[in-house]
Structure formats: C-alpha cells, structure tokens
Amino acid sequence: MKCTHYQKLISDRMDGSLSPASQKKLETHLKTCRACRLYEEELKGIEAEIRKLPAVEPENLAVLEGELRERLVRVEAEKRTHKPRSWGLKLAPALAAGAFLVMVALYLLVFNRPAERDQNLDLASLMSFEDSYLALTQTLNSDERLNEVYNEEILNSIFEEVKDLNLEELTYPEDYQEQTIDNDVNINLLTEKSGLSEGL
C-alpha cells in the first residue's frame, strides 16, 4: 500500500475511528516509514494548537460561517483567475503560427494560381453583360461553326423560356418572323406556326 493510504489511517486513528486490524497494519508501517511518522507528528502538533484556541460561542457561529463563505468565494475566484494553462493554451502560439502558414499555403494554392487569376479577372467583367459579350464574341469569332452551334443553343434556351411563358395566343409582325431565317433555323421563335412544339 502507498503512504497516502497510511496517512488516511493516521487521520482516522486521531479521530478514534480506526479498526484494530487497520491499526495493527498502521503500526507495522510506521516502524519502517519515516515520512509517515513525520506526518503523524505534524498532525498531532496541529491538533494540540487547535485545542489551545478558545471555544467558539454558538452565537459567533453565524459570523464564522459568513466569513468562511466569503473566503471560499475569494478562493474560488482566485482559482479561476490563476487557472493553470491547459495544453491548448500552451500550444496556442504554435497553433496560431501553423494556422497562418496553412492560410498562406491555401491562398497560394487556391487564389493565386495563374489559371484561377484569369477566372478572377473574369468575375470582374462578369458583372457587365457588355464586357462578357465582347469576350464571348472574341472567342466565337475564331470558329464559325462554333458560333453557329452556340447560337442554336441560345435559340433553344429562348424556346424553353417562351414555352414557359405560354405566349401562343399572341400574334407577331411578318418581318419579325422573317428575321430568324438568318439563323438557318426554319422556324419562328414565338409562334405556333414555327413548329416550336415539334422542335421541343
């Protein structure tokens, strides 16, 4: 058994609550353990000092209790302010430095790659339809067939939107119907005559 156990037995013996068997074990231990003998002497000294103090009158107990409570509150407050630093706090500077390095690495990897930088520039121009249109036409100009296919896709998107609007009851001027021929699509955008229903 460890000394802490025997020190508890010492305290119990002074209170008069130790069993004979435990007392025998304690006696055996004290013969060989100097630290426990010193502990017992210290406790006996404290007890002797206490016995010298004047007896506390019952009417002073309330005051004493109040003082004890105040002391307890102060001790608890001091414990909170002087709380030992946890591992997390001890490592905080290292963690902060690590986080900073990770952020720098992420910035370099995600935001500062050449290809991504181009896309970020696009984002600024994407706010403007005219800038986007200019960029788009410069892309499509290089390939006539791509231009045609792109235009057809846009027309298909318009068909979808118009279908949702359900505009078939309206009529349209002749020249508006003619203008779509330029797109090599032999249909008119917004009329039933266009074959829109078949096309979709």
């Binding site: 994407l126 005219e130 499509l140 791509l146 231009n147 045609e148 792109y150 318009i158 309206l170 797109n183």
Partner: protein, 166 residues
C-alpha cells in the same frame, strides 16, 4: 399584360437587330451578321430571364423595357463598331505596315468605344436601379453574374475537344 409588354418590347428589340442586320449585310462578312444574330438572341434570352427573376410588376415593366430597348439599340451599334475596330487593329498588326499614328488612332478609337459602351450600360443600370426594390436590385446583381458566367461556360463547354459540334 406583362407578357404583352414584354413581347412587344422583345419584338422591338429584334426588329432593331433586323434593321441593323440588313444595313450591315451589304458591307459586312457573314461572321459579322452571325454576331448580330447572336447578340439579338442573347439579349432576348436575357430580357426573358431577367423579367422572371426580378418578378417585375406591370408598372415596372412598362417603364423599364422601353429604356432597355433604347439602351440596347445604342449599345448594339457601339459593339458592332468595336468589333470592326478590333478586326482592323488585328489586320494592322498582322500586316506590319501600319505607322505608330495609325496604331494610336485605332487604339484610341477602341478605348473610346469601350468607354461609351460601359457608360451606356451604366446609365441603363442606374435607371433600372431607380425603379427596382432593394430585393430586386440584389436579384439583378446575382442574375447578371450567373447569366454572364453561363454565357462563357457554355462557350467553353462547346470548345472542349470531346464536345461534338455537328
């Protein structure tokens, strides 16, 4: 009623382009005509989607779309001129025979056209924002970003090597 206003406006927009296309057909190559068609269709699609996204009231539609029409007419012409100037500049560079003054004039013209286009676009947006609620303004910003991004992404998708172009 909104549908009618929208439709009349869109027809107006397309007629503008039709006239522009006829005017240009005698003097511009097929590629330029195609660009005219493309712009007309893009603007039509954008107007259709914008109307739905912003959930414009009849009153708003009646005020906004005529101005949209006017702005589009002016910007389309400016963009047509800009495309011509860019093509001319390319030719000057390729030929290697142009003088500094000619380059300078070409660059200046392009910068001026770009500035005018941006100014006209900004003027329309100012007008638009004066007629929209805060929520509609917010929707317009997001809509513009997504629509314009969609245009570029569609082009990139079609240009991918595996993409079949009929």
């Amino acid at each position: 009623m909104i549908k009618k206003i929208l439709l009349i406006t869109l027809i107006g927009l397309n007629l503008i382009f039709l006239l522009a296309g006829q005017k240009a057909s005698g003097q511009e190559p097929r590629g330029q005509m195609q660009q005219g068609n493309l712009r007309r269709n893009l603007v039509t699609l954008r107007a259709l989607r914008m109307t739905q996204v912003l959930e414009l009231t009849e009153q708003q539609t009646a005020m906004i779309f005529p101005e949209l029409n006017r702005a589009e007419k002016e910007k389309a012409e400016l963009q047509r001129q800009l495309a011509l100037e860019i093509r001319n500049l390319r030719q000057k560079i390729d030929s290697g025979k142009s003088t500094d003054e000619e380059f300078e004039a070409g660059v200046q013209k392009i910068r001026e056209l770009r500035h005018n286009i941006q100014a006209r676009e900004q003027a329309f947006e100012d007008f638009l924002f004066s007629r929209l609620t805060p929520v509609q303004k917010a929707r317009y910003i997001i809509f513009s970003l997504e629509f314009n991004r969609g245009l570029m992404e569609r082009a990139q998708r079609l240009r991918q090597p595996g993409q079949k172009i009929k």
